[in-house]
Each structure stands twice: as structure tokens, then as C-alpha cells.
Amino acid sequence: MSGADFVPLSLVPILIGVFTAIACALPGNFLLLRRQALIGDAISHVVLPGIVLAFLVTGSTGTWPMMAGAAVAAVVAVVLIEAIRRLGRVESGAAMGVVFTAMFAGGVLLLERSDTSAVHLDVEHALMGNLESLIWLDAEGWSSLLDPVALAGLPPELTRIFVTMLGVAAFLWLFWRPLKIATFDEGFAQGAGIRTGALGMALVIVAAIAAVAAFDAVGSIIVIAMFICPPAAARLMTDRLEAQIAWSVGFATLSAVAGYVLAGYGPLWFGGVNAVSAAGMIATVSGVILALATIFGPCRSRTGAPSGT
């Protein structure tokens, strides 16, 4: 594969895939340890009504209205889940199930009832994303990476997801100590004066921002997979949080690159002509990694827990 083909067609989607995977996997580590792994699932479902409403209100499919709508929907969903859990005294898993299915159904209905056929907004796209279409038309080869004119033609999704990834990393770096303490020992964290409630909410909001930015580029399925699979596999590799995060970033990168390559070039190796869904393949690869970690991971069992429970 020469640079003339690779740089315009594959480099940008791979980079977007990698940045997305890392941006989701980083907060995913903490969500996993705090047993909130399914928050990512809920958020990525409610993004749909958010963007549909944003479109209906503003009438445009611009980035910022979509992002704002999705972010608002994510926050509304989290607040609703919490409200139903407390006011209705409903178990949190069930409360989550009620909220995200109803909001997703509302989004689908709005989409079907309103005239969105003229714009690129449909359920399949929301679920599967369209990573393959994010190509860099202005590039002619590796040299374009240094060419300011060509660089200006980069898909805006790339910059957005890169900034998001940096933002997520900065959040974790800034709040590293309180997050770590609050995740492992909430009572002690409160005793030490950390506002665990606000911190937990902040973590969920950061996860929501990552999900929304990622959703824009790659669809919601890959978002859920990247929130859970790389951190879960990493959790089976080590007992130290720092190492777990490093592993999860590695697994996320590996899933994104391998998934994209398999989706784009895999069918050619088997004599097919068309590529398959990159987002789906990235999720599948992350699942294979998790399966391998489940079977061979060095830290896969609970230490000190009675066996058979």
C-alpha cells in the first residue's frame, strides 16, 4: 500500500478510530471500577433523541447544535435515571432500562415523523456511524502531512475527537488522586473532604462528552464497546490502576487499528470486493481481545474471594 492511497483514504479514519477508542476507554476504566459500566450504554442510546431534537429546533445539521443537543440529552437521561431511582425507589439497572429505551424510542419516533429525509440523519447511521467516509481528499501522500493547504482540508471530526481525547486525558490527570481514592474507597474519600457526589457526576459528564464526540464520527455501538471492552480486558491483566489504564489505551488502539484494517482489507483477502462496517469490526476485535483476556489474563480471578461464587 503506497502513501498515495493510504494517506487520503485510510490514515484519517484510523486516527479518528484510535482517538475515539482512547477517549472512551479512559473514563471507561473508572466507570468499570465503579460498577457504572452501563452508563456508557445508556448515554449512547439517548444521544439519538438529542440530535434529532437539536435538528428540529435549529433546522441545521451543524456540529455544535448536534453536540449541544446530544450533551443535553445525556445529562437529562442521567438526571432522569437518578430521579426515578430515588423518587420511585426503583433499582438502578431497571431505572436505567426504563429511561434509555423510552428516550431512544422517542428519538426514533421523532425521526420517522419529521421530515429528515433531506439531511443525513437516520437510525442506521446513528448506530453504525460512517467511519469509512471520513476521507482526506486534499492529501496526495505522506508529504501532505507537512503541507498547510492540504492540512486545512482535514475532516473536522479529526480535530474534534483529538481535542476531546486531550480534554478527557486532562480531566483524569487533574483529578487523578481524588478520582482514584473515591473509586476505591468512597467513605474514606468523603472523610478526606472529597466531594464524591460532584466528582461522580463530573466523571459521567466527561464520559458523555466523549460519547457525543465519538458518536459524531463513529456511531454508538463502537462507543459502548470502547467504554467497556478495553478497560475490562485491562482489568484482567493487572492489579494496578496505572497499569490498567496503560493496558486499556493499548487495547483500544489495537482494536481500532486492527478493526479498521480487517474491515477495509480483510474481505479482499478472502476474495470479496467490498469492505465491511469498520465500526462493527472494531467492536468485534475489542471483543476478541476481551475473550482472550478472559481465558489467559494473569489477573482474571478475584483474589481472596471464595471460589465458586
Binding site: L38, E91, G93, G97, A105, E124, A283
Partner: protein
């Protein structure tokens, strides 16, 4: 149009679909109750998303075998197979590793769904342009449903419901006390497995009507809704069945009555409306009931405190207290007590003294624990006992106005 749809006058197929959706809703509501009682509601989400690769595989196999890829029975068989695989994966991850169940659920649902999407894109490239029906399985659609499909869904819903009814006692026992269930010869792990198989059956039957992304709503929302209305598990199951059945029926009818009304989302939203109504209006557990309870309590506290203040000749400044006293005819707008108010105030103060006297007496120790500042003393003591207390206190004194 809507009236015709609700009264089953839109033709044989629409009627079959509405009846099938109602049966499916009842089966889903009752099955979901046991999942809900086991606090494993979201396992259903993993199962339902894991049906997608099965749908894709079944389509490919059927096309390769030269048949029609959209044969619903074949698709249902394929989806059941991978849903089973997904369930096994969730259990394997939870049992064999230290990952918690929610992580296992999330991993399985996203990975299986991702694999399913890969298969769907493979199908799109498979020349035969007849995969259009597969998209309908994501969100459910009853438009253009074949008669045999509608019959199969109705029969599947009825069969699942019958199985749930047969297994209900075992599932309730295991949900509430698995140790006891074990001691009378039930195997909790097998009963759990049966519950999951029923969930799987509901998912597969609901694939065509509700779609695989939203079927989980029909398993979760009805039991949560039913829980507001009763504290008894058998009734939760029965009410959940009603909620699910009504949602399925009304949703299918609404969707048949107008274009661009996707069946799955309409059913789920109907169900959600029932949930909201229950959250607001249910007796005991509803928000309105809780608010009224709070208001009544607040009222009693304000009146009691207001009366005590009046009895001791203190000015009442709190506007709410004055308003409540005026409404009960116990005081005037300027805070001066009426005749009745004076009597009640004296009584309130005297009761307060009686309670205080009670605290010092050993034989009333149990009763003095009931003191909360609101309880009328006559409700806990006999007239004789009150006389006895009054003897300790001394006779009534004049209250200075």
C-alpha cells in the same frame, strides 16, 4: 382510523398483529417481573442485542441454501442461537473472572451487535437485493407482514405466556429465597436458566414487532410500572402482564392506524406513558400520594406548633401556620385565637405536659417512646391512665390569653 384499529377492524392481518403484540406484551411483562425481582433486568439487553449476528448468519445461510433469506422462522432460529451464545458469554465472564455482571452485559451487547453489523454489511454486498426486511428487525415493523409470520408471532407469544404461568411458582421462590427453594428440591441455577430462556423466547418472538433494540423495554418497564401498585409479587407479575399487554395492543393498533408510526417505538412509548402515570398517581408509592402525605404531615406540625404558641401567649409569625389556623377556624387573620382555638390550644399544651410527665414514669416507658409531638395522647392511653397522669400533674390551670 384509530377507533377502527383499536376495535380490530383493519383487516385480518392487522388484527393478528395486534393480538400477537398483546400476547407478546403479556408474556414479556410477566417474564420481565422475574428478571426484575432477581435484579438482573439489563441481562435482557445483552440477550436482545446478541440476536443480531444470528439474524445475519441465518440470512446468509438461507440465501446460500437457495431459499428466501427473509423467512421469519429461519431468522428467529438463528437469532435464538446467538442470543443463547451471548447469554453463555455473560455467565462465563461473570463466573470465571472478577468482572462484574454489568461489565459483562455491556461487553457482550456491544461486541455481538458490532459483529452483527459486520454481517449486515456483508449481506448488503451479497448481490441479492432483498435484505430490506432485515432493517425492520432493528426497530420492528409490521408493515407488509405475512399472514404466516403474524400467526407465528401470536402462537409464540401464547406459548411463552403458558410456559411463564407454569414456571411462576418456582421462579418466585428462587427470586425471594433461593436457599429455601434449594431445600425443597428446586435447583436455583436451573430455574434462573429457565427464566433466561423465557426472556430469550420473548426477545425472539418480539423481534419482528418491537425490534431487537427496544424489546428490552417491554421486559423492564411493565414490572417497574406494576411495582408501584402493589407489594405482592404475584400481583406485580399479573399487573405487569396487563401493562405489557395493553402497551402491545394499543401500540400495534396506533402504529397500524397511521403511516410513519414505527411499531416498536410506539409500543415502548405507550408503555412509558403507563409508567409515568403510575409514578405520579399510584397510591402509597406514587409521587402525588407522597406529596399529599407530606402536606398533611406539614399541616399537622404547623397547627400543633401554632396551638402550643397560642397557649403560651406567644405571637405566631409564620404565615403558613396562621393560614392553616384560620382555615380550621382556630384563629383570626391577625393571629388572635378564636374560642375554639383557645380550647384546642389549652388541650394541646396540657397534652404536652402529660407527655412530659409520662417520660418520667417507669411503667409508661414503652408508651413514652411513641412521642413524636403530634400524637393525641388519648390514642395511646385509656381514660383511667390519663386521670392518673393528671393526678401527678395537678389540676388544670388557667391559660392566660
Amino acid at each position: 382510523m384509530l377507533f377502527e384499529a383499536l376495535t380490530l377492524q383493519l383487516g385480518y392481518n392487522a388484527t393478528l398483529v395486534a393480538v400477537g403484540a398483546a400476547l407478546l406484551g403479556v408474556a414479556a411483562g410477566v417474564t420481565g417481573t422475574f428478571l426484575f425481582l432477581r435484579k438482573r433486568a439489563l441481562v435482557a439487553d445483552a440477550i436482545s442485542h446478541a440476536t443480531l449476528p444470528g439474524v445475519g448468519l441465518a440470512f446468509i445461510v438461507m440465501v446460500l441454501a437457495g431459499g428466501d433469506g427473509r423467512n421469519l422462522a429461519g431468522l428467529m432460529a438463528g437469532s435464538a442461537l446467538t442470543a443463547w451464545g451471548g447469554l453463555i458469554c455473560v455467565q462465563a465472564i461473570t463466573r470465571r473472572t472478577r468482572l462484574s455482571e454489568d461489565a459483562a452485559i455491556g461487553a457482550v451487547l456491544s461486541v455481538f451487535f458490532g459483529a452483527g453489523i459486520v454481517l449486515l454489511t456483508v449481506i448488503q454486498t451479497m448481490s441479492s437485493g432483498r435484505q430490506a426486511g432485515l432493517d425492520g428487525l432493528l426497530l420492528g415493523s409490521t408493515a407488509g407482514m405475512l399472514r404466516q409470520d403474524a400467526l407465528m408471532i401470536a402462537a409464540g407469544g401464547a406459548l411463552t405466556l403458558a410456559l411463564v404461568l407454569i414456571l411462576r411458582r418456582a421462579m418466585i421462590l428462587v427470586a425471594f429465597d433461593s436457599e429455601y427453594a434449594r431445600s425443597i428440591g428446586l435447583r436455583p441455577d436451573r430455574v434462573d436458566m429457565m427464566t433466561m430462556l423465557l426472556v430469550l423466547a420473548v426477545t425472539v418472538v418480539g423481534l419482528k414487532i418491537v425490534g431487537l433494540i427496544l424489546i428490552v423495554a417491554l421486559l423492564i418497564i411493565p414490572p417497574v410500572t406494576a411495582r408501584f401498585w402493589t407489594e405482592r409479587s404475584t400481583r406485580v407479575a399479573a399487573y405487569a402482564g396487563v401493562v405489557g399487554g395493553v402497551s402491545g395492543y394499543v401500540g400495534a393498533a396506533l402504529s397500524a392506524s397511521a403511516p410513519a408510526m414505527p411499531t416498536g417505538p410506539i409500543i415502548v412509548l405507550t408503555c412509558f406513558v403507563l409508567f409515568l402515570l403510575s409514578l405520579l398517581l399510584a397510591p402509597e408509592r406514587g409521587l402525588l400520594a407522597a406529596w399529599l402525605r407530606h402536606r398533611r404531615f406539614q399541616e399537622r406540625v404547623h397547627i400543633r406548633q401554632g396551638l402550643l404558641a397560642l397557649a403560651q401567649g406567644q405571637e405566631v409569625y409564620e404565615p403558613l401556620t396562621i393560614r392553616l389556623l384560620v382555615r380550621k377556624g382556630l384563629a383570626r387573620r391577625d393571629g388572635v385565637p378564636t374560642e375554639a382555638g383557645r380550647a384546642r390550644a389549652a388541650k394541646a399544651l396540657r397534652d404536652e405536659h402529660r407527655w412530659q410527665a409520662l417520660h418520667g414514669l417507669a411503667e409508661y416507658e414503652a408508651i413514652s417512646g411513641l412521642y413524636d409531638g403530634l400524637r393525641d395522647i388519648e390514642t395511646v392511653l385509656t381514660a383511667d391512665q390519663i386521670d392518673e397522669l393528671d393526678a401527678v400533674l395537678g389540676g388544670p390551670r388557667e391559660v392566660t390569653p
